[in-house]
């Protein structure tokens, strides 16, 4: 019996090849926690979003009530506006600086290995480190940024303590922290561009700026589009540096969506409502991804 089952399993083919049944044993130890933690949590999260789920009381099914409430919640509106605002500050900041830094390092001039390391280094430390360093650097009275601005006659900016500046203060810290990813992807993209193109452009008399705009940037468009998308998705998740630097304040001026989810869900304890808000953010991220995929396909055809 056992023998015949074994021979029968041996005979099974998939894509014209003998099936390796042992593959499932190799995959299972990873797949089981993956399915529980990621897939099951995602499904459960959608369910929670449709309930009134407190810390202690039993959950009650409330249908679309959480979503309806979120639509009318001025703090949700503010959190989403702020999050988009973060994206519009941080993403171009990283794209422009990251590309410039990558083009500089890619020249292969002396100390470029050192420069590359320094541009990437902030990427390897945690949000706590970023937050605490930048709270100190951006301090209104004694921070080095205001100190150097003062040197040029610019009056002190209350980077973290005023409603009109807090979002920019957090954005500066985020650009410094997150630049590494875009920078490295740009660097990898630049190396794909054949050197001969620049040599012939040089013979034709094109200067450095012309070369950048006629050769580098057009050829790098797929990388630029990828960096912008990845960075938008990353920025929509902005949370820890906000929590550490400003706790969303003052007066919610630097509050992001995940920060609001944290406040509503964990601090106040409205888990169902918080879950619904985070689901809305997921839809926004999904939309960005789909639009980007669509634009790329358009260009290819």
């Amino acid at each position: 019996m056992v023998e015949s089952l074994r021979t029968r399993m041996r005979a099974v083919r998939w894509k014209g090849k003998r099936v390796h049944w042992s593959a499932y044993a190799f995959l299972l130890p990873f797949l089981v926690p993956f399915l529980i933690i990621i897939v099951a949590a995602a499904v459960f999260g959608v369910y929670v979003a449709f309930t009134d789920w407190g810390i202690i009381a039993k959950p009650i099914w409330v249908g679309f009530q959480n979503f309806a409430e979120a639509m009318g919640d001025q703090y949700v509106a503010k959190a989403f506006r702020n999050t988009v605002h973060y994206g519009l500050v941080i993403v171009p900041g990283i794209a422009v600086l990251g590309l410039m830094f990558a083009m500089y390092v890619n020249q292969g001039w002396p100390l470029s290995g050192f420069s590359r390391a320094m541009f990437f280094a902030p990427n390897v430390v945690s949000a706590t480190v970023i937050g605490l360093i930048w709270v100190w650097i951006l301090d209104t009275q004694y921070g080095i940024i205001n100190n150097y601005l003062g040197f040029f006659g610019i009056p002190s900016v209350p980077w973290i303590t005023s409603t009109s500046w807090a979002l920019y203060g957090v954005s500066m810290a985020s650009i410094w922290w997150d630049l590494g990813l875009g920078f490295v992807l740009f660097l990898a993209g630049l190396q794909e561009i054949p050197r001969e193109l620049y040599e012939s452009a040089q013979i034709a008399g094109a200067n450095g700026v012309q070369q950048a705009f006629r050769i580098t940037i057009p050829l790098l468009r797929p990388t630029i589009s990828m960096v912008v998308t990845l960075q938008f998705i990353a920025t929509f998740r902005i949370f820890s540096q906000v929590l550490v630097m400003t706790d969303g304040g003052p007066a919610s001026s630097s509050m992001s969506v995940i920060h609001y989810v944290y406040t509503e869900g964990i601090v106040i304890g409205r888990l169902g409502y918080a879950s619904a808000v985070s689901f809305l953010l997921f839809l926004m991220i999904l939309a960005v991804t789909v639009v980007q995929r669509f634009l790329i396909r358009e260009r290819h055809s």
Partner: protein
């Protein structure tokens, strides 16, 4: 989403000597170096502040190098708080989570790259798709579930959600795809089991994906913030990254300005391991990012 892996020349490696540059190139080179220095300045400022006595921290003159060097700030960090416990927690959690991710990822990556079986393409597509769903979206349900089964404030609760990280699967799959078939064929002829082939032939060859995923995942786990913040609300079960955040001086409360020295000492302690590993093994960090486009 993904960038093709590259071989050969290291990304951005240098090769031109200063003497070969023209005048305007030297000018740009120099300005660029100033930007590099400015970019590293926050780290210099962090270390410098951490060695200053409180009265030297609050000065209107910028002192890049402390006039008087003291270690009191470090003493305060190590004496007044549960820092030792947090360090131990961080090491335990990061080490076990990373070891599990790398081993399970190697096995899964091997199966996806070398074995044929129904569902293979679907499973890999699912792994890639999961990168689009950030954990932040579903931390609340995960938290509810973990508290319900009694995993709050436990090591298992801290470790488990970070284990199924697709990064190591992806890196190992990429590596095993390029492994020559002949190595496996001869072992198969000899009647070796699949596990023997994996553990005796494939795994010993995969030093480079193993190192890459170990250091990158260890760093991610060490820096992990949101999940440890939520699942460990007792002080003794905090990780260093979350615990150190409590050293933040109250925003805007200028009476606490003197504590910037202590808070800089705390973040210096927190960031030194990551920065050291990065500077010695930066090739792995940079290639890891360039190959996968995965950061978190």
């Amino acid at each position: 989403m993904m960038v093709q892996p590259r071989t050969g020349r290291q990304i951005g490696s240098s090769g031109i000597r200063l003497g070969r540059l023209r005048g305007w190139q030297i000018a740009i080179w120099f300005i660029g170096l100033l930007v590099v220095v400015a970019w590293s300045a926050p780290f210099v400022w962090m270390v410098s502040t951490s060695f200053k006595p409180p009265e030297d921290v609050m000065t209107l003159e910028i002192e890049w190098f402390p006039r008087r060097v003291i270690v009191d700030n470090y003493v305060k960090v190590f004496v007044n708080h549960s820092v030792w416990r947090w360090i131990a927690n961080s090491v335990i959690v990061s080490a076990s989570a990373t070891a599990a991710s790398v081993l399970l990822g190697a096995m899964a990556g091997y199966a996806l790259a070398r074995l044929t079986f129904p569902g293979r393409d679907f499973i890999f597509a699912m792994f890639l798709a999961s990168l689009m769903i950030p954990i932040e979206m579903f931390v609340i349900p995960l938290l509810i579930a973990f508290i319900r089964v009694g995993l709050a404030n436990t090591y298992l609760g801290l470790i488990l959600p970070t284990v199924p990280h697709v990064f190591s699967v992806y890196i190992f799959r990429q590596f095993f795809l390029e492994m020559p078939q002949s190595l496996e064929d001869s072992a198969e002829m000899d009647g070796a089991s699949r596990w023997t082939i994996f553990s005796r032939i494939a795994l010993p060859l995969s030093r480079s994906p193993a190192i890459a995923s170990t250091i990158i995942l260890f760093n991610l786990n060490w820096n992990n913030f949101l999940w440890p913040l939520l699942i460990s609300f007792e002080d003794r079960m905090k990780t260093l990254t979350v615990g150190i955040a409590s050293f933040a001086p109250g925003v805007g409360s200028h009476t606490q300005l003197g504590s910037f020295g202590v808070s800089m000492a705390a973040v210096t302690i927190l960031s030194i391991p990551s920065l050291l590993v990065f500077f010695f093994l930066q090739r792995y960090f940079i290639e890891g990012v360039a190959k996968t486009g995965i950061k978190e």
